[in-house]
């Protein structure tokens, strides 16, 4: 099956055939437990009603691939501290606005006078800095391999143009080793990974080879359209039936085995690997992308001497277990009661790509 155009990925007749193939091939076995790692997959699955179609054959659990959800509250606190400096503009993607820190959020601080601007691209933050020479523009660099190249590009652009009033508070992180941490956790019990589409376009499908080989878990890179996802699930089931654990690439129209060389080069130039805390999961060695020493003048942490502490309070919020796929949102005692999109308690309910928000918004049972 080779799919090329958008509407083919939403074709009802094709979808019905793939659903039938999944159900027929899986038969009466107990449901296979698959993790969609990426937040965009989580939203697509909820939005297309895929769980309602596969109930009984497949249990889809959501992973840690929502950059907002895994950003620790210490990062938000550090951003707020920086935002309160005089003549400072905090530039951020909109998703970050409502994420709670320990005591406040950027949205609340904005109403109190902190200058927060929502941008669509890190390069816009460089332009903002160029246009406001009397102010420091600090970009909140949050994301995975997908956003890392554009953040790196912004830093390189600021360096070339000698823009001294621009810096990045980096909380960029990488996915494959976080998946390995989950694969090795017996409580999580993942039988197959639906690997993220955009991240894989950058890092390439080969990045999951260690995961498949070392942990014996089938991996399929899939796009975000409903048929991409259904077909990806079918491929995972087929591997399981055959007893295989390899990497397959359903998203070959965009992602290649080795990924985007130029993007990986620019990431390697501007960033260096670091240990970083994942909200709900803990510190995962080598999964962070800190700004390399050569570009430390653009590193807001170094420039202003701010720390990003990583501590996890024990609260009733079970976002951590949701992020690890240990429970579904409805198993959290706060879900839909103390925690709703209007009054979110944890980050999984705040972010538009958060698992709890997707379950709530689309009525997933």
């Amino acid at each position: 099956m080779r799919l090329k155009y958008i509407d083919e990925f939403r074709d009802p007749e094709l979808a019905r055939r793939v659903v039938d193939a999944i159900r027929t091939s899986w038969g009466e076995r107990p449901p296979m437990r698959l993790m969609e790692v990426c937040g965009t997959h989580t939203v697509s699955i909820a939005r297309a009603g895929i769980r309602s179609l596969l109930d009984g054959a497949v249990t889809m659990v959501s992973g840690p691939g929502c950059p907002v959800c895994v950003t620790p509250d210490g990062y938000i606190d550090a951003a707020i501290t920086l935002g309160k400096r005089p003549d400072t503009i905090l530039a951020t993607f909109g998703d970050m606005l409502r994420v709670p820190g320990r005591h406040s959020s950027l949205e609340k601080e904005r109403s109190g006078g902190v200058n927060v601007r929502i941008l669509y691209s890190p390069l816009d933050a460089v332009e903002t800095a160029a246009g406001n020479p009397g102010k420091e523009v600090i970009f909140l660099g949050v994301g995975f391999e997908t956003t890392a190249p554009s953040i790196a590009g912004a830093i390189l652009s600021a360096a070339v143009r000698d823009i001294g009033n621009f810096s990045v508070l980096s909380s960029v992180r990488t996915i494959p080793r976080a998946m390995e941490a989950l694969a090795s956790d017996p409580e999580v019990r993942i039988e197959g990974f639906l690997c993220p589409a955009h991240v894989s376009a950058i890092i390439g499908s080969d990045a999951y080879l260690p995961l498949a080989e070392k942990f014996g878990v089938p991996c399929v890179v899939a796009g975000f359209e409903p048929l991409d996802i259904l077909y990806g699930i079918y491929l995972l089931l087929r591997q399981k039936i055959r007893g295989a654990a390899v990497v397959e690439n359903e998203y070959s129209r965009v992602a290649t085995p080795s990924g985007n060389r130029k993007a990986r080069e620019i990431i390697a130039t501007v960033f260096r690997e670091s240990d970083i805390g994942w909200r709900g999961i803990g510190v995962l060695p080598g999964t962070g992308l800190a700004i390399a020493d050569a570009y430390s003048e653009f590193d807001a942490q170094k420039k202003f001497g701010v720390e990003i502490p990583f501590t996890e309070d024990k609260t009733a919020c079970r976002c951590g277990d949701v992020l690890k796929g240990k429970i579904t949102p409805r198993e959290c005692p706060l879900f839909g009661n103390a925690c709703t999109p209007a009054e979110p308690y944890g980050p999984c309910m705040v972010s538009s790509e958060g698992t709890c928000a997707a379950y709530y918004k689309y009525g997933v049972q």
């Binding site: 979808a15 965009t40 009603g49 998703d95 669509y120 994301g143 689309y362």
Partner: protein, 336 residues
Amino acid sequence: MPGDKILLSHGEGGKRTRELIRKVIAKRFENPVLSPLFDSALLGRLDGEIAFTTDGYVITPAIFPGGDIGRLAVCGTLNDLSVCGARPVAISCSLILEEGFPVETLETILDSMEAAAKEGNVTIACGDTKVVEKGNADGIFITTSGIGIVNDGWRPAPENVRPGDRVILTGTMGDHQAAVLIARNRLEIAAKVLSDVAPLSSMLLDILSSFGGSVRFMRDPTRGGVGVSLNEMAESSRVRIVLDESRLPVADEVRGICEILGFDPIYLANEGKALLIVDGSAAEPIVDSLRKTQYGLNAAVIGEVVKGSPGVFMKTVIGGLRAVDYPVGEQLPRIC
């Protein structure tokens, strides 16, 4: 007054104020009710139930692809009256101008208001102008109020809705907000998207007079889009609405923009569309009639009212079922 800017003295009630009102504003809206510039507009005797509505308009940029804040203000009020089955009679226009606002832009906006009022067959009957210091407003704010009359005939209302009814949308979703998003963020997207801002009074009143009681309930899906309006309709009518995703009309350009930004067109604002809940058997004839009008070319049946607890659901293109809930806050661009 090319090149002129609004000055604080334009709002201080003296000679400059009179000059602005007479030469720039009243000149454009000239009509027998407004022209005497009394403290109140005298509308004469009105026969029927009176509908009364008001709305404030703040939008950046004030002039956007397909329209401007003036057309938006007039159409918004006209449409609010029309979806209640009221024939618009008169509207008011209150302007709050920021010091330094270009008079030429104001003239463009006022021309646009007058053109929209003429198209919607309504009189701009009274108004007010205030000027605030630079920095205290975003160029221009407009408030319009409107009075309309519901004749003795049928009045669409939530309590008329029942299972078996169908939901009609009079055109493609999200054009207005997509156009404004592109203009506001200077997104370098080649697609040309124009706001749908339009007065729907003639179209809706014609449908009402032809199909009367078959039109159960109407709303204009402005802020919050079709998603929010349908939730409100389901709530006030205490019914369950199931949409058919494959029948939701969305322009390809708007769909593309939503894909890029991670927005859902069902929650994007519209300013020239209406949602109609109609008797099931009259749905197709009503859609046929709408499609013969300028603003109803892409009208479609998008769902139906079914038995069950109140709420809005969607049968997805691939056959799944999911809820369509109220969104929380504005839609924000996603990270990846």
